[in-house]
Amino acid sequence: MQRPLARAFGSAENPLNHLGALTIFFCWIVLISGIWLLIFFRTSVSDAFASVEYLTHQQWYLGGIMRSLHRYASDAAILTILLHLLKEFAFDTYRLKRWFSWVTGIPLVWMVFVLGISGYWLVWDELAQYVAITSAELLDSLPIFTDSMAGNFMTAAAVSNRFFTLMAFLHLIGLPIFLVFGIWLHVFRLTRPSINPPRRLMAGTLLSMLILSLVFPAVSQDEANLALAPQTIQLDWFYLHVYPLVQIWSPGIVWIVLVGVSSLITIAPWLPPGKKTKAALVDLDNCNGCERCADDCPFGAIEMQPRSDGLNYEYEAVVDADLCTRCGICVGSCPTATPFRSKGTLIPGIDLPELPIAHMRELIKTAAEPLSGDQRILTFSCAGSTTAGKLRKAGEAVVTVKCMGQIPPPFLDYVLSRDFADAVLLTGCSDGRCRYRFGAEWSNQRVERKRDPRLRKRVDDSRIARAWQDFPQHQGNVLKQLAALRETLPEATAKSEGEAS
């Protein structure tokens, strides 16, 4: 799905890169439409159905549309949640230090389901009757209630307005409060969490939901009648797909399956246990407390604390190893991470033990060694890019780093000014697809001199190309950029020679 959507929307607006934010956007639609419905809704057994019918038919131009939007946005949220979960799983961005968002997402899914299911009760039509009885059967199978809850839905006299008010309270106030708290917890460990999708994407999805609401308005089924047993109902499969299983299997087995699947998904980040690597390391002798690493860390793993070593700086960076994803973006942001330093061992203020910059400098030298001629290009590729292997096979010089954000701009200067290559190509996962969230974005901004540490002015921009992969198979873009860069090279070389003379 990545490929066609990336082509239609581009990476920045690709819906698959904003699934979490889209879900929150749908929640906003549900909230706003729900407030309108609440104004006219009557929380009693005798009046609930009639009030929804009034909204649907008499006030179709607003209340009816709001009802449809309420329903369809709720359904769409389930779809985006499912895709969000599948995407994080497929791209392996739920393991190791990312477990927190994954694990806190599971209760959120449960909450959204309970919220949606409780909403169906309030309409009090045949579907509500079915949902109420089946939900009660599910709850009865738990050793919580002494009396049968489902028995309360066998005769009209047994259903009270008070019970209906309780359900309305749960749906309108109780559960939404927990949901908001759950969303906050879900993104708690992320810096700059993507809460809102791009405006055009919001407009597009809202418009599509509006058109759906107009063409195909949500309507009630026949009014609930407990003396009758509904024979055929139009089930909302997004929320109620489990309910038929209660009849086919039994409530107990359904609980076992639900709890089992949820537990399995919850422990997935540790199945199997991930390889333990060392978190980013701060070297106080080289750390000047500039705060850039703390600003750039996508997971809030770096905190600036008062200086502990007596040096004349206000702060020092402290890495929380439990939060560090070992992406190296902090290294890319460190002003002391410069390969030009020749005295002593090359140690920056913060470094990644897995791939220290001293080793990165050696990798550059080794990769560039076989290059010859006037069109020598050195490619930096992130570990998530699928192009690196292909380029190597084609004889290109490639240095693979964990994330493109790991490359400090002085390294690009180093490659060009020390004549290791005539040009540099940066290739990796595009913005939105980056495993470490901001690799492409920070890298772009540093090269464009919009973010510290900026690329030095003396570096010729035309000799640095960037090719981001919108989807794993998106290798054509990289090869195209490489060819385009190569074409510009003789001219660029001539220019620099002219400047030198």
Binding site: P4, R7, A8, G10, Y130, T146, T232
Partner: protein, 163 residues
Amino acid sequence: MKYVGQSLFYAAFAAIVGLLSIWPSYHILGSQEALVSVTFSHAGERVGECRTLTQEELNKLAPNMRKPNECPRERHPVYIELRTNEQLVFAQTLAPSGLWNDGKSNIYQRTKVDAGNYLIFIGMNDSGSKDSFDYELSRNLTINPGHNVVIRFDDLHDTFVIE
């Protein structure tokens, strides 16, 4: 071309949302089927007789604990049997609820039946006796398709009620 792709995505997205929100329909009952639901809570008899305490025994108790009778907490399980046209539909022995087996026994049983005329028989035994039913009810009923016939026990009048 880009906008065509986007329009196709939005259309497909809306179509999936609209479609799965009501389709396919779910058939709970066949067109000629109905339900017979037996649902109620009923406490079985106590397993032992209550005993009247002597004045001497009462005097030994704190003033606020002086109840004249001492009864065992445990109750008998409740046995229920449902028959339609003399065919056994189900027979269940329901344990009392509560940690001390002193609560009510609960039943919630829904059975699909074909619409038609039935002789409904329900019997309940709550005293531990196995020879006869303590309570029973037989009634001829015409059950229409889609109807939910509810059988409950009225504790106030100690009788079964069919609604």
